[in-house]
């Protein structure tokens, strides 16, 4: 039964999405509420792109509701090394995505709801959207002390941030999306959003850290489903449409032609890391080798996620200088990425004199370098 109704929804949606004039004849003429069936952050971001690029929003506005499995999402012009703990994320298998809108870094998991408000560029109005959300929350739980700050955050009890906002404006369309913390894992959130990388100098948009709280903590009877239902209800009322949420499958090429290409693009290294604005690293660390403590100083310039210039200062003669030069030369032009650096460094070792001491020193240096990435 569920399958039939969702299929029907998809077909209806397909008609609405592909023949915009049909929108006038369909029931949802003033607005459309859609919800993603996927928890993949890249697929959901791709849906946003698709709607932004392909839908005619002249006479219709769209609300898109989505949730993701654990992921960190950085803003368009941000530096992931500055914003989050990439090492920890790799260990915990938490994905990193870069969205096309501006703003700061957020942590998503299934306890967080994402809402995207699509309008024409003329009708782009963030305050209205956030007020809608607050109205919905208050209708659901009148005792909640929630309000919109002048930074377009939604604050609980005047103090805790429960929602952050970002927006994207194109030629004719615009979207404003925001998060809503219902029951996210705050421990993981705070640990992944703390960058361990030191000595970074960059003009990338910095995030503004804030104390967060889950709505669930304020009222344990609240669930994500209740919240998104309440928001959909309020949206439907304000746009004078049916309170009907159409399910959308972000992998469906028929309803969303070209969506899989968009998803793939969002996953490429060139987009996620390569779009990082130019930055430099100037740092030093200690290495312990056979009861000796060594000071190492590293300077690197990274552009488009690749190392443009690299300089490693080691104690005199600890490693053959020719080998150090070789390392710096090989790193130049390669991705600022631990995997690439590891394969590079270990491959270089093949053409060195086969000396166990040299090998262990080399491995030690490389492991420390990789910690910077």
């Amino acid at each position: 039964m569920l399958l039939q109704s969702s299929l029907k929804n998809c077909l209806q949606l397909s008609c609405i999405l592909r023949t915009p004039k049909a929108g006038f004849r369909s029931t949802t003429s003033g607005g459309l509420i859609i919800q993603s069936v996927s928890n993949d952050v890249y697929q959901n971001l791709a849906v946003e792109d698709w709607i932004h690029d392909h839908m005619n929003l002249e006479n219709r506005q769209v609300l898109f509701i989505w949730r993701n499995s654990p992921a960190v999402v950085i803003g368009r012009h941000q530096n992931p090394w500055q914003e989050c703990n990439l090492r920890l994320m790799r260990q915990k298998n938490i994905k990193l995505a870069r969205r096309r809108s501006g703003g700061g870094t957020v942590y998503h998991d299934l306890g967080n709801i994402n809402l995207t408000f699509f309008t024409t560029r003329k009708k782009y109005e963030r305050m209205e959207n956030l007020k809608l959300v607050v109205k919905a929350l208050k209708a659901l739980r009148p005792q909640l002390d929630v309000h919109v700050s002048d930074r377009y955050d939604i604050l609980l009890d005047r103090h805790y941030k429960i929602s952050g906002t970002a927006a994207k404006l194109g030629r004719a369309t615009a979207y404003h999306h925001c998060t809503l913390l219902c029951n996210a894992d705050k421990l993981v959130l705070s640990s992944v959003l703390k960058s361990p990388y030191r000595g970074l100098k960059s003009n990338a948009t910095p995030s503004v850290p804030a104390s967060v709280k889950n709505l669930f903590e304020e009222d344990p009877t609240l669930t994500c489903e209740m919240l998104l239902d309440a928001i959909a209800e309020e949206y439907a009322t304000q746009h004078q449409i049916d309170h009907h949420i159409t399910l959308i499958n972000p992998a469906d090429e028929i309803v969303l032609p070209g969506i899989n290409n968009k998803t793939k693009e969002l996953q490429t290294w060139e987009w996620v890391y390569g779009k990082t604005p130019k930055f430099s690293i100037s740092t030093c660390f200690n290495m312990v080798y056979k009861d000796c403590v060594l000071d190492v100083k590293v300077d690197m310039d990274v552009k488009h996620g690749r190392i443009e210039a690299c300089n490693v200062d080691l104690p005199e003669q600890w490693l053959p200088p020719a080998l150090c030069r070789e390392l710096a030369k090989s790193l130049t032009g390669s991705k600022f990425c631990p995997h690439e650096t590891t394969t590079l460094a270990t491959t270089l070792l093949r053409v060195c004199p086969q000396d166990d001491e040299l090998h262990s020193k080399w491995n030690l240096l490389c492991e420390n370098m990789i910690m910077l990435m």
């Binding site: 392909h54 995997h339 394969t343």
Partner: protein, 493 residues
């Protein structure tokens, strides 16, 4: 000045020169180096935005137009320029992205209003740009004239289907920017193409038909032309395939037009290191030796052991057997597990059998190794392989896993192939490439034909210290262990 007179005469009815200026728009055109005078008038005097207002004189240099930063909304007056998509000298089409600006959590893509060449960028990266002030200077092609000025926001998305006019030899040619680009790429003069659309406008299939007549071939629509503009229903697209079906090309021996370009990329990072290793490997004189192995018994054994390994949480492939057998062989022929120094003066016999397994990843070839196979059981090797494989596919292999290898096996058979010519990875002196397992007919001891599971192995060894006989004997020993797995039990340590 002739141009100005022409203008004045055409607007005599109006009494003065006006250009379209919708009140809402904050963008405007200011002409520098213009050939005519323009007076802005916010009055109600309006011309249909489809009409040409200016006649240009036949001058060679285009007019420079200052494209100003339009209103972002929400009362925002300044933004930061975050990324330029174009640089000075690039040519742009209408609706191409020019730059990305950011203002208070909103990222805005600024698209070009004109076709032309970028002459000046008014801001550097990370500088503050002001709404209403010039963002870039665009030189517009003199023959094309100025596109009608409109508030971008009010234009419904279908508007780019509105036709930008071209005046060539006094004949108005209607064509969309995408069609004009297609014509430009193929060096076609629009005036020579017959338009079959409304008002004689030139559609994409008109260009394609024109080209087909020229080259005698049916050309596929250029993918670039389909992408710009990025909207779902360009009415010309569905029409194109239908039209093509009716046209039968007349074969004419003309060169096919191909607009692809060579692409040069620097070799960086991982590939650079690979170049280095392989160049060093070139210095090693390679001895090749190949053979075929009957794995019928091993296949059966593995089938029996697979579920047992599964209960212990390990996926059992053929590799652990190949690796263990190799190690047993190396115990008898330690020279294959050695290393020759730079000057070829000394051979070092390595005590540990750190057998490398070539892995194909997204980045390319990586060779992690299983350490100390000589003291590992087949099960332990299998579980270590599982660990290396999952780390390898996640791109998380450590330096320790990737260094210290003494001998390598490459299972190219998982992708395909039978015999190969593997290249030795320095500082090792031998490598084996395993082809795919095929079911082939073979004769048994009684002269009967039976179904055999055959795999080919191709060895390469450093001929400076290893001779053919040694390689052959090692291979035979390895082969005997695998063809009769029970014999491995006798020599297992």
């Amino acid at each position: 000045m002739a141009a100005v007179t022409a203008l004045r005469s055409s607007c005599r009815a109006a009494g003065r020169l006006v250009c379209i200026h919708r009140v809402r728009s904050c963008s405007s055109i200011r002409f520098i180096k213009s050939k005519y005078v323009c007076v802005f008038d916010k009055s109600a005097l309006k011309f249909s935005h489809q009409q040409r207002l200016f006649r240009t004189s036949a001058a060679s240099c285009g007019q420079i137009v200052q494209f100003k930063l339009s209103d972002i909304g929400e009362g925002i007056t300044e933004v930061t320029v975050k990324e330029w998509y174009i640089k000075e000298g690039d040519s742009v089409s209408q609706f191409d992205s020019i730059c990305e600006v950011q203002s208070d959590k909103a990222s805005v893509t600024i698209t070009s209003r004109y076709d032309g060449i970028i002459r000046k960028l008014h801001y550097n990266l990370d500088e503050i740009a002001y709404v209403g002030k010039p963002l870039v200077d665009i030189e517009i092609d003199a023959s094309k004239g100025v596109a009608p000025e409109e508030d971008v926001v009010e234009t419904p998305p279908m508007s780019h289907e509105e036709h930008t006019h071209q005046e060539i030899k006094g004949h108005k040619t209607l064509a969309t920017p995408a069609v004009r680009r297609l014509a430009m790429e193929n060096n076609i003069k629009l005036s020579e193409v017959v338009g079959t659309g409304k008002d004689n406008r030139i559609l994409k299939e008109d260009i394609l038909n024109y080209l087909a007549k020229q080259t005698g071939a049916i050309l596929p629509p250029s993918p670039k032309a389909e992408i710009i503009p990025p909207l779902p229903k360009s009415e010309t697209l569905p029409a194109a395939p239908k039209d093509k079906a009716h046209k039968i090309p007349v074969p004419v021996s003309r060169p096919i037009v191909f607009s692809g370009k060579d692409k040069t990329e620097p070799i960086t990072g991982f590939h650079k290191a690979m170049v280095k290793t392989m160049s060093a490997a070139l210095k090693i004189p390679h001895l090749g030796y190949c053979d075929e192995i009957d794995l019928t018994q091993l296949v059966q054994l593995r089938e029996e052991l697979k579920p047992l390994a599964q209960t212990r949480g390990v996926k059992l492939s053929f590799m652990p057997f190949f690796i263990k057998a190799a190690s047993l062989g190396l115990l008898q022929y330690p020279i294959l597990n050695s290393s020759l120094d730079e000057s070829c003066q000394n051979v070092t016999y390595k005590a540990s059998h750190n057998i490398g397994v070539a892995m194909d990843t997204e980045q390319g070839l990586i060779v992690p190794n299983v350490k100390n196979v000589q003291v590992c059981s087949v099960f332990e090797i299998a579980s270590e392989l599982n660990r290396l494989q999952s780390l390898g596919s996640a791109g998380q292999l450590g330096t320790n896993d990737l260094t210290g290898g003494t001998f390598t096996l490459s299972n190219i058979g998982t992708i395909g192939g039978t015999y190969a010519k593997p290249v030795i990875l320095p500082p090792e002196v031998a490598i084996g490439a395993l082809g795919k397992i095929q079911v082939l007919p073979r004769f048994n001891g009684k002269g009967e034909v039976f179904k055999a599971q055959i795999m080919n192995v191709s060895w390469s060894a450093d001929h400076r210290i290893i001779d053919g006989a040694t390689m052959a004997r090692f291979s035979n020993l390895w082969k005997s262990y695998l063809e009769n797995p029970a014999s491995m039990l006798l020599d297992l340590k």
